[in-house]
Symmetry: D2
Subunit: 316 residues, 4 copies
Amino acid sequence: MRLPAPLSVCLLLSIAHTTLAQSWRPPAPSERCPSKWGADDERGAANHVTAAQVLRAVRLIRTGEIVELGRVLSSDMPMAAGRGFDLYTKRTNGPLGANKRMSNEEFVATELGQVGTQFDMFAHQGIDGSLYNCVPIEGTATRNGFTRLGVEKIGAIVTRGVLVDIAGMKGVSSLDAGYEISVDDIEAALAREHVALAPGDAVLFHTGWGRLWGVDNTKYATRSPGIGVAAAEWLAKQDVLLFGADTGPVEVLPNPDPQVDLPVHQIALVVNGIFLLENLKLDQLVASQSYEFAFVVQPLKIKGATGSTVAPIAIR
Amino acid sequence: MRLPAPLSVCLLLSIAHTTLAQSWRPPAPSERCPSKWGADDERGAANHVTAAQVLRAVRLIRTGEIVELGRVLSSDMPMAAGRGFDLYTKRTNGPLGANKRMSNEEFVATELGQVGTQFDMFAHQGIDGSLYNCVPIEGTATRNGFTRLGVEKIGAIVTRGVLVDIAGMKGVSSLDAGYEISVDDIEAALAREHVALAPGDAVLFHTGWGRLWGVDNTKYATRSPGIGVAAAEWLAKQDVLLFGADTGPVEVLPNPDPQVDLPVHQIALVVNGIFLLENLKLDQLVASQSYEFAFVVQPLKIKGATGSTVAPIAIR
Amino acid sequence: MRLPAPLSVCLLLSIAHTTLAQSWRPPAPSERCPSKWGADDERGAANHVTAAQVLRAVRLIRTGEIVELGRVLSSDMPMAAGRGFDLYTKRTNGPLGANKRMSNEEFVATELGQVGTQFDMFAHQGIDGSLYNCVPIEGTATRNGFTRLGVEKIGAIVTRGVLVDIAGMKGVSSLDAGYEISVDDIEAALAREHVALAPGDAVLFHTGWGRLWGVDNTKYATRSPGIGVAAAEWLAKQDVLLFGADTGPVEVLPNPDPQVDLPVHQIALVVNGIFLLENLKLDQLVASQSYEFAFVVQPLKIKGATGSTVAPIAIR
Amino acid sequence: MRLPAPLSVCLLLSIAHTTLAQSWRPPAPSERCPSKWGADDERGAANHVTAAQVLRAVRLIRTGEIVELGRVLSSDMPMAAGRGFDLYTKRTNGPLGANKRMSNEEFVATELGQVGTQFDMFAHQGIDGSLYNCVPIEGTATRNGFTRLGVEKIGAIVTRGVLVDIAGMKGVSSLDAGYEISVDDIEAALAREHVALAPGDAVLFHTGWGRLWGVDNTKYATRSPGIGVAAAEWLAKQDVLLFGADTGPVEVLPNPDPQVDLPVHQIALVVNGIFLLENLKLDQLVASQSYEFAFVVQPLKIKGATGSTVAPIAIR
């Protein structure tokens, strides 16, 4: 059973009568295309992954300790509306041969690009019919994936990772649902950590919302604290490679401006070619106060896909 | 459409009348259990991934160049009998909000643990009813995965990688179907590369068979050169973490002894707790003569699964 | 997202301390095998569908009116734990040709034998390792269906249908959850309807529970009124072809004896070779007081399957 | 593994240089809408299924013999490009309770509306962006089915069935691939059978092509004899309810005019609101020379689907 039609839509409608100043409208195609990485580029900020960038990351490794940042994939994890994860064991038909070999496998049916700890690729989001670099959805979307901007174009990402512990800076175990992380918040958290962002960084925001994972999945999936429009545009100016969080959408849900629906997804993926990393498990990183580390993620090379479930790590 | 019943069975039957000396029979439970990692261990050779081992790997990084070792996942890749990979685009229902957001995703139906470039976990293989560490299949296998020995127990592997270029040592572009790699072959290749194996290594065999990927998928999937019983037992003695190849089964297919069916799978996964890595893309590593490197693979944390499709890398 | 582990198990455990007289235990293999239809029979009561039986049914048709007895199949219908129904539109890749043809289809992932209005076949249920006619599960169950007792063995069923309106006889809109329909209840309802059962009948019980379908799916799927052990054994003595109801399990859930789990499924499918028909939509039949009619159901010919979702009809 | 991109496209391209007189172009929206069944109609020729029509069919039943017209659903049946049928056994997790109940089911992943013996609904086919009754695809197609013209709108069909044995009339066991059945052929076959068509009939064409089912699936699925444009338009004039055949597409494949792609699908489903019934098993009907019979088919009530796999019958 998949969950019904997007809750975000419902939330949007329920508060649509509130009057607010217009917070953000997407830039026109002429303002956002061609991308700074070139008119034919399909990799966006993944172009930051150069040998020099890899060496910069590797130099941060001191103890050799691996910190896992991915959640376990199972049917009972929190998922956005309309998504599921179903695994069926295909038990052995054996034993085979004189060695009595038995062989099990499993069949999995899932929104593979968009469940669990998850990396968002450009085919995932559009603005009024077009994707990153103004690639049109029509003619690019086929029944079996996208002919351009699929996640198989990215490859592994090895770069410097930075943990921005907003909850820690605020002195709370978790930010509240609907809390919009501001630029000031980010700067205050970085100052507290004695860290500065640099181009090509993977920036991971700790909100504390991840405590609800497996505890109150409905609450986890319905609303969350997160990045707002101003912070997203500031991050884009810092020229980061990706940003992620211990929440489903990374961005604040619902947006304080009820007229816009998940605008940070557009700012990151469509306007700036920056990736999002969702549903991170950050408790161990926070507990060890690891603010700077080598960050490695290997998106599956799913042809034409809008993203990939992943199992990223920090290496300290 | 999935492919019909295992070809390996057919091949086995077709040559079952040949009389050969008995090559290998699985050890009795008392001879293989408890595992050297302890009676309750579920991680086998993944216990090699210590901070010291990570640092050993990291020190091999010189240029920061990433070499991708994974294949693109698509419906037309070679697959073993009975497996498939089907991706269906779920196009946007938008545009949503004043920001005209559009959101695409995909539904994937596949043997997620056992397709593409792929990491084999212990729940995958058994000997007459029991798995690694003599865990019984009955009572551990449920409809929705295994309660023990699932791939979510492993975590990321960062270790020293060694390329063993058997085809290069032989001076051929590809070994022949059915060619059994011997211990002498491995030692000759390592000598040519001026490399020695060490405990915890990820050992990747280049057979050249990968040239058939996407070129002649039927040939690729039906037979292959690979590791035989003697080489597998030798590798286990070297205490390696995993071994893999640019073929489907890593091991020679069919086995020269027609009475045994994929015995190397049992020797590695069931008897010794060593992982297999299948369908590697090794051409770039071979071309650059990278025989020693940092190796990183992040199996998806699929609860109770027999393996994971992966996108491993070498970092030079 | 599929629902978690069987609720029936939880219910069973929660009341397991209650002491009750032993209500029913399954007969030993020697008592139930061979089936009265022969030791090799795989069709059980479907053997009732003879040309004479078809003519008997056809003679009941008077007005030619069709009454639909099937529910709409969709992802939001009530389903037992662990089942789902997911449909993904595969939109056209066209237009194709000078005629600008466009072609849509859909991918469906579901427990096809066991969702919606649904016909239960013998492979569905067993007693301690064996199915109808003492066919063992081990050796018959393969990864891809059963080699014996699959639903493709049955064919269409055309027979006399009888509506037994228990709720109507009781003068209630719906029986209560957990209400066990007795033999007296059935006889009283038949007397009120001036109808008697005959061998080969399809007997449909109206409990009124169907009012909850789409209204309170959780309540619908968790408990229900229905046939108990005594009524099931009486129905078997009447030599009926199938019995069904406007509930999920047809039988009372939970069983009044907390030590037995869905015993009517075993009495019907395993012991007597009689089929079950679940989740019927009976309101229209009840409203028109159609107690006797031609009944037609066409199970899909799914090779090796435990049942089939269906769309049966009554013709008056 | 699904088959690659539509073969029909390849065939079309391969012969696109042939010059032929223009055979057919779709009528403009103003010429085909509203449908003769009304501007809001979603059921087309299913409106023929009245009580009177049912009685007309029932009166044809003489012996009570049921003839099955459906194929067994399995992974190795012939399928059009991009479609599959995969079934995975979910074996019991039992035994449960003192009655040691065991319960098996299966997970099926398939293009449920478009595999096996199969009923085509209006959402399946369009002309340049619009469906039957000029319903636009855009805005009607959602990720999870169509909001209009889904197969759940139809209900069971009980009507007079007519077998038109074209192969028999021609004195051949099978028509050739690419043979276009003409109006003269149909009239000659009907004369030989002493049968005339009437409004609301289900017309089943025997081509003999069904002999290839399970014998040469590739040949079966790639090309076939069948109805052409002229015969389809003549059938529409006879006001039939549906027409079907013992082939995949019912219509001739490829079309003799290489510029049009499956035009009979558009003539039936989009222009005239007439259904198609594909992959029928007609051998038994032919062998018994049953030219007129009661025909019954129960499409699954799949919400928003483009069709349904079915198991139709003739009753003689």
